[in-house]
Symmetry: C2
Subunit: 338 residues, 2 copies
């Protein structure tokens, strides 16, 4: 049974809970023999939902947790106060080695705080980054960090670069991933204080394929595989991606509806447009890992549907089998320069 990866799924987290996480868990175990899902949450609710599906019974277990952390709750208070919430119960299973990974579409803040406080950092990791995949013209890039802790130090960014490289290479299959730091220009003298201090450290780092600065304009084109930045900037990038995309699509649709010709054309292009939008949709790839913790914590979008939860669970199998944490440990604890 050594090959079975044990994944706790937060059955109560996300806009579509409990239906979506439970359906996603069922789809995951129906797709892979290598995973056992623990559904954490209110037992009667979960059992009621599960009754709708057919699945290998030995691959899904229910772990009762009476409380639910709401998205609006202050994260630290929620993690401290709600000891019997699905997030706290699930993360404690990671902490005690009873599970390998934890997937939640619930409160980002609570997941980040819980990850640090309950699961704990790998020795040597200074700050665990939240690293979502973002769509590009060429595929996907890892945007690291988009977490809650802003104002990072240069040493944090160097660790982000290393952890991001390991993830892209071993989970996403990108050989020798190109690492770039977000900057306000391509020239050597550009950058804020943090970037200027970090740049030479990344350049000196032997374990990564550092390609220099990336201007925000070139991120969507797929200029690099690992996009390093501190969390405030990462948050701006991630959310602006979403915002520009949705306004642009809305404007195009609106524009088409303004003429008969546009309306007919719009009907004809609908399938192609849908396909294109799908290829530019991050949810196809599962959630964002919170890297550098003693177990794997994956944060799915709040709006996750069953498919995204399923993909997040399947992602945990690769993460565990590839021993990403072993690789992170080894790499972080090694000196950068010889």
């Amino acid at each position: 049974m050594d090959n079975i990866v044990r994944v706790v799924v937060d059955a109560m987290g996300g806009d579509n809970a409990p239906a979506a996480p439970i359906k996603g868990a069922v789809e995951a175990v129906n797709e892979s023999k290598d995973v056992c899902v623990y559904l954490a949450g209110q037992q009667d609710v979960i059992i009621g939902e599960l009754a709708k599906y057919t699945y290998p019974a030995d691959q899904i277990k229910v772990v009762h947790a009476s409380e639910v952390i709401e998205t609006a709750e202050p994260p630290v208070k929620a993690i401290r106060g709600k000891k019997d919430s699905s997030i706290v119960v699930g993360m404690n299973m990671l902490r005690h080695g009873e599970a390998d990974a934890f997937v939640s579409a619930g409160s980002t803040g609570a997941v980040l705080v819980g990850g640090q406080v309950i699961v704990g950092r790998i020795k040597g990791v200074e700050r665990p980054p939240l690293a979502p995949l973002i769509p590009t013209a060429k595929g996907m890039s890892l945007l690291i960090d988009c977490g809650a802790n802003v104002d990072a130090r240069p040493s944090h960014l160097v660790q982000f670069a290393k952890m991001g490289s390991i993830y892209m290479e071993h989970i996403m299959g990108v050989k020798n991933p190109r690492v770039a730091i977000v900057n306000n220009g391509a020239e050597e003298e550009k950058g804020n204080a943090l970037v200027k201090e970090t740049f030479p450290l990344l350049k000196a780092c032997k374990d990564i394929n550092f390609v220099g600065s990336v201007e925000a304009r070139d991120i969507p084109a797929g200029y690099a595989d690992v996009i390093v930045c501190e969390a405030f900037v990462g948050n701006v990038i991630l959310k602006l991606y979403e915002g520009v995309g949705s306004v642009l699509i809305h404007k195009i649709k609106e524009g088409l509806m303004s003429s008969a010709r546009g309306k007919i054309g719009g009907l004809l292009i609908k399938p192609a447009l849908k396909e294109t939008m799908k290829s530019f949709d991050a949810s196809e790839y599962g959630g964002a890992p919170l890297l550098g913790l003693k177990g794997l914590v994956v944060k799915s979008h709040g709006s996750s549907d069953a498919k995204e939860i399923k993909n997040s669970v399947l992602q945990c199998i690769d993460f565990s089998k590839q021993d990403i944490n072993g690789k992170i440990k080894e790499n972080i604890q090694k000196p950068d320069e010889e």
Copy 2:
């Protein structure tokens, strides 16, 4: 002749110079009696170009400048070294009161350095921000600051908010413009050190209509009229806007070409798509002002065509007639709280 606004246009600046700036200048004087354009640059080149057009001769003058600052040159060195460049010559005219405004599509760095070093700041202005207009679902917002000086202080951001409000109200005609600060969440406790320090100062500021934090996701929707941030973040927002838009449009076109149905639909939607893209194109509104200087400096896109230069020149008329600098001076030198 008091009503004539004197605008220097850098005839040598931008990817399409000298043709585009010269054509833009001609179009501007053909559209408005209230402006006199000084074309700064190599005299013989300018005279040769001008010969192609018909325009009121007393509204265009040529100011010879033998040198050209290239985009790739280090800005400080270029401004110091090339005393007879179109940028230095033009800005000196502002400094000596021989012109009211300066428009260039040339090196952003050189324009920013020249603005500070040659034209000089209005007394009390700590840092002159570069403030482009960005398209939104509702129209345009002013993104302030996108300049070259990063790592701003809270007092800088407060001045940006005030100058941006004045610009949006008196040039763009937005009554009581909504001012927001870019943040990584809407909650009160969110923000990096700079934002946390700036937030209460903006809240206490009586001259502006501060509406709180704006997440990057909500910028394209048009959540606020004046989007305040320090220049590193402003640069990321401005360039990502461009990058996401162009990749998305490219992907949509590519998607349409992959099927016969898509191709036909694509032909039908072409005019509507073009119209939509135009409404989401910042160049329709002219260049970005560098606010807080003793004269007006406007930076047009490097890729400016004649139309954008024309719009930049016409923008200078409003700026001068509305006495924006008088309003900035009065507002900056006034205490924030009573």
